[in-house]
């Protein structure tokens, strides 16, 4: 961001952020990927139709069904469909983290709300536990974000915190997940009515 006097003006830098949502509800699996700019304006949005495995498929795949559907089928299809390459990827499901990271070249963050009080200053990074979970005070007007990433990417947490701080000036970094969930809900309602 650059300032004009005392007012913030968005940079023209064309940063792309990637959001992935994969979820299971009542035995049905579905997912979506949303690419936005630094203001949260959509650049691309893809979603999958719900997949409901049959009883035979549940027996044959056993405990691997959940992982297979979420990682191989849904995540693989979504990432294969997008053409832009985000600088940073966000997801909600920490169980996707390793598989997700192995498919993309940019860091993947599990981004969540935290119940903590705001940290002392914006940009502050507070490690939690063993070093792959951090609290990041990205915005002066919000609780710190809970950020989890692979240990291999842990050394880059300051760079990622800086990027998060920049984008919170023009958007709420968690908000696109709400939009994706709403869009999937609309898709589901449309299929039920069809």
């Amino acid at each position: 961001m650059k300032s004009k006097g005392d007012v913030l003006v968005a940079k023209s830098v064309d940063v792309v952020l990637g959001y992935v949502l994969v979820e299971e509800e009542s035995g049905s699996f579905r997912g979506a990927v949303l690419l936005t700019d630094h203001r949260g304006i959509p650049r691309d949005f893809r979603y999958t139709d719900p997949i409901s495995p049959s009883r035979v498929e549940k027996v044959l795949y056993g405990g691997a069904l959940d992982v297979y559907l979420k990682e191989e089928v849904i995540l693989g299809s979504l990432l294969g469909a997008v053409e832009l390459r985000p600088a940073l990827w966000f997801c909600r499901d920490r169980e996707l983290l390793r598989s997700f990271r192995s498919r993309v070249s940019s860091p993947v963050l599990v981004l969540q709300e935290s119940p903590h009080a705001p940290l002392d200053h914006v940009g502050e990074v507070l490690p939690q536990g063993e070093g792959s979970v951090f609290l990041v005070q990205a915005s002066p007007l919000a609780a710190p974000l809970r950020v989890e990433l692979l240990k291999e990417d842990g050394a880059r947490i300051q760079d990622m915190a800086s990027t998060l701080q920049q984008i919170t000036e023009t958007m709420d970094p968690l908000e696109p997940f709400s939009r994706m969930r709403k869009a999937l809900q609309i898709v589901g309602e449309g299929q039920e009515n069809a």
């Binding site: 005392d6 495995p53 919000a142 709420d172 939009r179």
Partner: protein
Amino acid sequence: MNRSEGGHLLETLKRLFMGRIAVRRFPVSSGRSPEIRNISRRPALRGGIPADRVVISQCFRWRNKAVQTPRRVVFSEKPGIRMLSFSTLDADVRIVPLTGLTVSARNGGALLGSVPHYRANQLAFFREKPVFEGASVLALFTPIIKDGVVRSALDKGSGRLCVWMDPRTKAGQPFHLLLVRRLSGPPSVSWVWLPVSRRENSGGGSSIS
């Protein structure tokens, strides 16, 4: 009177009137001598080890190791292999279709255009509550790119602000949007836009006055 009572009475009468008693002979025969038998006391020795039992022939070898009891190898000979005829056990092989577990990613750009951006009330995070003369701030939604807003609506159920953005906007200046209630005159609320200042985002606290 039975026979034994009659005999006893007859003996008694003989002793009383004839003065004599019957003398009976009890012959001692050689057959009454004890029989002496030659009994062999040599004990029969029997093995105390129970016979090995074959449970199933598949136990003959287990991972190339002989199956053994503590004493000796159970199977010292190759088990007999018998062949069963399966000619009558033909079965139909059916295909379970697993192709249902594939999916393709659909383009939902148009769909997402109808979904608003959401902003939660962030007023609680202001260290210095914004103050307006003659009015109080009810809610603060931020950041919003004001010049890209097509329309907005307050979701009274969740308290979130729904903002529909123009996807082609080039605008980039973030604003706070405040919901303000006027204290004087008839009760009314209004919306106020305030640009986000550099000082707020540098972490120095926030105030609106």
